[in-house]
């Protein structure tokens, strides 16, 4: 039975969070530490906030710019995903999402300039970002996965050893007190009342992403940077990995990978996967562990 109303719940980086601890309530210092971190993360890296680092280069000229250590870490990882997907995953699509209407004002209507959008080129070396012109970065799911792992770090630092961090449906969990795993249902993409299967989560991250929840006017939030259009063919992706960040990186990369590359892409991120295709079939990694309702 679903345990409703349990745990510490709050809203952050645009989604609902829940932290469950097995063996006692979450103390106030932990609650404050977690919400403070999420709030600051949002202020620093949300593309919806004009003063964030993700938006700092919106009107920048080509050149080299210093960035914070944490933004450099995030961009370095994003650069790795960009290489892994032959350039198709790129956080610099932030500008394209804005042109398509998914902007800070939530105008939700494509602007005339969407057809002319040119993906900015960027490189990160250490804490120096090189760009060839204006750029807006959208860290998306991989940023959220990173955030979930940092919340786990906060809990570990404060002495918690048996917990689950749910950041809007992406999860990192240790084991429960007795060593048993957490039992997690996987929502079928686009079917809010349907589970595709279940997994037993223990010292692992889980990420689930689909193209349904952020739809507007023929667009959704996973966009092809060169076709200037939402991707087709894949309804959603689920991934299991050692960390939530790895799992979220895997879902981001798999959306942009060819079927024949799924296993290699997942392997490079230590992930196992389900790829829900638009034709109704699901591609499953052979090492997937969990029940699937076939």
């Amino acid at each position: 039975m679903m345990k409703k109303g349990e745990g510490f719940t709050f809203t952050g980086i645009g989604t609902d969070w829940c932290v469950l601890t097995d063996g006692g309530e979450l103390r106030q210092d932990a609650r404050t530490g977690i919400t403070d971190y999420i709030r600051v993360f949002n202020e620093r890296f949300s593309r919806f906030l004009p003063d964030s680092e993700a938006c700092a280069f919106r009107k920048a000229e080509a050149g080299e710019y210093p960035v914070s250590e944490e933004f450099a870490v995030l961009l370095e990882r994003a650069g790795g995903l960009r290489r892994l997907t032959n350039g198709l995953y790129d956080p610099a699509v932030g500008g394209l999402l804005e042109e398509a209407g998914y902007d800070a004002a939530y105008s939700m209507a494509p602007r005339p300039g969407v057809e002319e959008f040119r993906l900015p080129k960027w490189e990160i070396r250490g804490q120096v970002l090189t760009i060839d012109g204006p750029a807006v970065f959208d860290l998306g799911g991989m940023g959220k996965g990173y955030c979930i792992d940092r919340v786990a770090d906060i809990l570990e630092t404060l002495g918690y050893t048996h917990y689950l961090v749910d950041g809007g449906g992406d999860i990192y969990a240790t084991t429960k007190r007795g060593g048993e795993p957490w039992h997690i249902a996987l929502e079928y993409p686009g079917k809010l009342d349907t589970a595709a299967g279940t997994v037993e989560l223990a010292d692992q991250g889980l990420a689930v992403s689909d193209t349904f929840r952020r739809q507007w006017g023929g667009w959704h939030h996973i966009v092809h940077p060169f076709l200037r259009a939402p991707i087709e063919g894949v309804l959603g992706v689920a991934a299991l990995a050692p960390t939530a960040w790895d799992a979220d990186c895997a879902t981001s990369a798999l959306f942009f990978s060819d079927t024949q590359e799924y296993a290699a892409v997942a392997k490079s991120l230590h992930a196992r996967y389900l790829v829900f295709r638009a034709d109704g079939r699901t591609e499953i990694s052979t090492d997937w562990e969990g029940e699937l309702f076939v």
Binding site: G169, G197, T259, Q260, E261, A264
Partner: protein, 144 residues
């Protein structure tokens, strides 16, 4: 050339049978479960193939090493009703190298009502959209 082609086809046919046996062995529990479900009156809207599994086989062809993807269709009772072989893995060099890791399976997931699941701690899912996003969509819909 024809001789090479027929030899290749023979190899593919042998591999197809081998792959079918391998997959059937690997999915014996699932097949038995499917048969049980069928015996219990579970109906299937698709009268032929209700789900598919696939694997990639590597074999030595006259021109060198080659790969074939086999997709096996199962009916509601878990019986193999089709075996398809394709050269889908042939492509550019990068894809070919990556394909050496590709052994994914392809199935049809029917799903189960979340309300029917017991002892679930949480639901893994795509992020809910923000209130601002939802309000904007509603506002746009009203204008249509």
């Amino acid at each position: 050339m024809n001789m090479l082609k027929s030899r290749r086809n023979l190899i593919i046919a042998i591999l197809a049978v081998a792959a079918a046996v391998l997959l059937a062995y690997k999915y014996v529990p699932a097949l038995l479960q499917a048969r049980n479900d069928a015996a219990q009156g579970v109906t299937d809207t698709d009268p032929v193939v209700s789900r598919e599994v696939s694997t990639v086989a590597t074999y030595e062809a006259p021109g060198g090493t080659d790969k074939v993807r086999f997709t096996i269709g199962l009916d509601a009772g878990g019986r193999v009703v089709s075996v398809k072989a394709s050269d889908a893995l042939k492509g550019d060099e990068v894809s070919e190298n990556l394909a050496t890791f590709s052994t994914g399976l392809l199935v049809v997931i029917r799903g189960k009502k979340l309300s029917e699941l017991t002892a679930v701690d949480r639901v893994g899912k795509s992020s809910l959209t923000t209130a601002a996003f939802n309000a904007s969509i509603l506002d746009l819909q009203k204008q249509l």
